[in-house]
């Protein structure tokens, strides 16, 4: 049900609500109008009843009169024949009226034949009375007095029953307004009763007068009737006075009522008084004689005035009722028109309101659709335009509307705020998305770099690890070497001690050598001097030998040229040369050798000198070296324990290097794990990047203002 109801548009819902609200209103209206209608119907029934009652009461009176006159006629009073005919004619008229009015109202007042049959009261219908009357009218002259009385009674009885019935069905005695109530009670209840009893009394009094004497009971009856008549007239007087007094309180003063009723009442009262005088005379004075005519005259005058008063009262009562009907009709019309107008106005207001809401909501829906479609900029501009056009906020009435309690305005403001927020949010999101994308890209790049770095680090660590291993091995070897070195240094220390001793020997040897050399140098000088002498001698010999050689050569050349003649000469030359050669030519080379020796000697001497110098410096150096060596020995001796400690340090270092190597391997493992983590991190970053790209795609559906 609720789901079904939610499908409707607001306008439909409002229309449904209007119908729902209109239903009780219409029911109330219906009851109100039916109340009015009831009142009107009530008044109408009264009118109709009064219209029927008028001929019916007239009829009952006339029939009684007719009975009296017929009785007089049958007693021999033939001059009443005209009056009988006159009365019969009036009775016929009354029946005509009754038939005419009865046909109109018998159904509404429930005295039609069918209704009466259903309650088994069909004998009271006026048609029976009329039939009886027709019978009576034809036969009254032939019948006896008693028979006529019975027949008259048969006519009167249904009429009286009819009167009672109509008075009941027409509600005339239940009249709610005081004026019409008093008037109707006077005209319908009291006056007809009075007239009826008067008619009956007339019949009775006629029989009394006709028999010629009055008994005590008759007299009392006359007195009582006079009292009753007096009292009833007083009641009539009182009721009508009340009616006249109350008249102004009910729908204003009825002029015709005020004008017509008092004369008729006065007339009636005036006719009551003489009849009372006659009645009292008859009652009080048994001796007084009164003619039947005289008695009837005054009674008839009273009946006529009463009938007149009744008719007038009926007429005025009808007028009053008509006024009431008019009044109710007017009120009903006003109520209907006011209600309808109110309903119409409400409908129009609801329609305007709902149309306004629908239109505004339509705009909001449109804007929301724009937002949903992503055109936030358009939604924003639409909102501004709508705000300016519809609510004029942004113009002079800004503050007034800002504090407006109109929900639509508030909705627009809320949507506007929402749109602005969404706009800024989306801008922020877009910006953030870009930042996140760039950041994630940076992160990704950084991760890649980091990955590479880690890979490099891993390889570096590998290298370092390997290096550490090498260091460890090297340090181990080094430690070994150091052990060797320590031993060697120990040995070196010993050797150095030995060297020291040897150096001391060398030093002394060198010193002696220096002395020897100095000595040799002196000897060499002497040799050199001797050699110079020898050279001079040899030079002289050699010069001679050379010249001889040269000469012998030239001689040999010349002898060769001379041929056979020169053979002997050439032999001589050869011999000479041989001699020269034997003595000197060898010396030529010796000379050269000597020269060379001399040079060599000189060089040797300078070399010896240099050598001497060098030897001296060597000696000095050896001395220095000796000192240095001494120190070195001491150092070496000192060094030995240091080498020991170095050796231990190296061993520790070797162990440390091994530990480093292990640590490096662990580090390598960690680096591998880090690289794996980085790969995962990279994947996560890529996922993040993808998510951000999706988000950006979503956001990029919204066109925002900036």
């Amino acid at each position: 049900m609720k789901r079904y109801f939610n499908r409707f548009k607001i306008l439909h819902k409002i229309i449904i609500s209007v119908f729902v609200f209109a239903l009780p209103v219409c029911i109330l209206l219906f009851y109100m109008i039916s109340g009015f209608n009831n009142n009107i119907e009530f008044a109408r029934k009264e009118v109709w009843g009064s219209k029927l009652l008028s001929p019916l009461t007239t009829l009952s009176e006339l029939v009684s009169q007719h009975q009296l006159l017929v009785r007089l006629f049958l007693q021999g009073n033939t001059n009443v024949q005209d009056r009988i005919d006159h009365t019969a004619k009036k009775i016929d008229e009354a029946f005509d009226t009754l038939f005419k009015e009865g046909k109109r109202y018998e159904r509404a007042l429930r005295f039609d034949v069918n209704t009466l049959k259903s309650i088994k009261m069909e004998e009271i219908h006026y048609s029976n009375a009329h039939a009886m009357w027709q019978e009576l009218r034809k036969n009254y002259k032939k019948n006896s007095i008693v028979q006529n009385d019975v027949e008259h009674e048969m006519v009167i009885k249904p009429v009286k029953e009819m009167i009672k019935w109509v008075a009941e069905t027409s509600n005339i005695i239940l009249d709610p307004d005081l004026d019409s109530h008093y008037l109707s009670s006077a005209a319908i209840v009291i006056l007809p009763n009075t007239l009826n009893s008067l008619s009956e009394f007339l019949l009775y009094s006629e029989s009394v007068i006709f028999k010629g004497f009055r008994s005590r009971d008759d007299m009392i009856k006359f007195a009582v009737f006079a009292g009753n008549l007096e009292e009833s007239s007083e009641r009539i007087q009182q009721n009508i006075t009340n009616a006249l007094r109350e008249d102004k309180l009910f729908y204003g003063i009825s002029e015709s009522l005020q004008k017509n009723i008092p004369p008729a009442l006065n007339n009636y009262q005036a006719s009551v008084v003489p009849f009372l005088v006659v009645l009292k005379r008859i009652a009080n004075d048994p001796g007084s004689s009164i003619s039947i005519e005289e008695f009837l005259e005054s009674a008839m005058a009273l009946i006529n005035s009463g009938a007149q008063l009744r008719e007038t009262s009926f007429h005025e009562l009808q007028l009053l009722l008509k006024r009431r009907i008019e009044n109710f009709s007017q009120k009903r019309l006003i109520a209907i028109s006011l209600s309808l107008a109110a309903l119409l106005l409400a409908a129009v207001i609801i329609f305007i309101v709902s149309v306004g809401i629908t239109r505004s909501l339509g705009k909001v829906i449109g804007i929301a659709g724009e937002i949903a479609a992503g055109n936030i900029y358009k939604a924003k501009s639409d909102l501004e335009a709508i705000g300016k056009n519809e609510f004029m906020y942004g113009d002079e009435d800004k503050d007034g509307l800002r504090h407006s309690k109109n929900e639509i305005v508030q909705l627009f403001k809320a949507v506007s705020t929402m749109t602005a927020s969404l706009d800024s949010l989306l801008a922020q999101v877009r910006k953030s998305g870009i930042q996140v994308t760039s950041s994630s890209t940076q992160i990704s790049a950084a991760a890649r770099q980091l990955e590479a770095t880690v890979a490099e680090q891993a390889s570096s660590i590998n290298e370092v690890s390997a290096t550490g291993k090498e260091i460890s091995a090297t340090a181990h070897e080094f430690a070994k070497t150091m052990n060797g070195v320590a031993e060697m240094s120990f040995r070196a220390s010993e050797l150095a001690n030995e060297s020291m001793n040897s150096l001391s020997d060398i030093n002394t040897t060198m010193k002696s050598l220096l002395e020897n050399i100095t000595e040799s140098f002196g000897k060499l000088k002497t040799v050199n001097e001797k050699m110079v002498d020898i050279t001079q001698v040899i030079t002289t010999i050699t010069k001679v030998a050379n010249q001889i050689n040269l000469l012998s050569l030239n001689a040999a050349i010349e002898a060769e040229k001379a041929g056979e003649y020169g053979i002997g000469f050439s032999v001589v030359a050869r011999e000479i040369r041989r001699l020269a050669d034997q003595t000197a030519v060898a010396a030529i080379d010796i000379e050269a050798l000597i020269l060379e020796t001399q040079d060599a000697m000189k060089q040797g001497m300078s070399a010896v000198a240099e050598y001497t110098d060098q030897t001296m410096t060597s000696t000095e150096r050896i001395a220095e070296i000796s000192v240095d060596l001494l120190r070195a020995i001491e150092h070496t001796q000192d060094l030995a324990p240091q080498f020991e400690s170095a050796n231990q340090g190296m061993q520790i270092q070797s162990q440390s290097a091994a530990q480093i190597s292990e640590a490096m391997e662990q580090l390598n493992e960690s680096a591998k794990q880090t690289r794996d983590s980085l790969v995962e991190f990279k994947e996560v970053t890529e996922q993040l990047n993808e998510a951000v790209r999706d988000l950006q795609n979503e956001v990029s559906r919204f066109s925002i203002s900036s």
Binding site: N546, L550, L553, I557, E560, V585, A592
Partner: protein
Amino acid sequence: MLFLVFEIDNERYCLEVSRIIEITPIVIFRELPHAPAYISGVFNYRGVVVPVVDLSMLIAGRPSRPLFSTRIILVDYVGGDNIHHTIGLLTEKATETISRREEDFQPSGVVVEGAEYLGDVIFDESGMIQRVRIEKLPPDTIKDYQRGRRFIALKENNDLL
């Protein structure tokens, strides 16, 4: 035939005595600027300007040392122009002669270009002696040089030979 034997860096060489004019002691030469290194210079030989070729320079690439046995061998040289010239050959240890026949010489087997003057080889108890062929001396450049003006001036004193 008689050959003059001389020694350069322990290797012995010989010259035909028939081509030798005279052997003189070493003198001081007038140097010739821009001349090749093996031209030691010129000197006055009995009033004639004679160019001197240093055989040590030519053969061993070093100048002759000033020894007693270092001498100038004046030879008769027929240049490319078929004219006889007197030139001096400076050499060390020119103190011996040796007598051999022409057919005793054996070719060395190798003729080095630019050193065609080193000819056939003989040997004695001390070792091998290579013959220096005067007609091939000095190298071609010197031959060209001797065809110059100086050579013409020398030609006028040719009767001295």
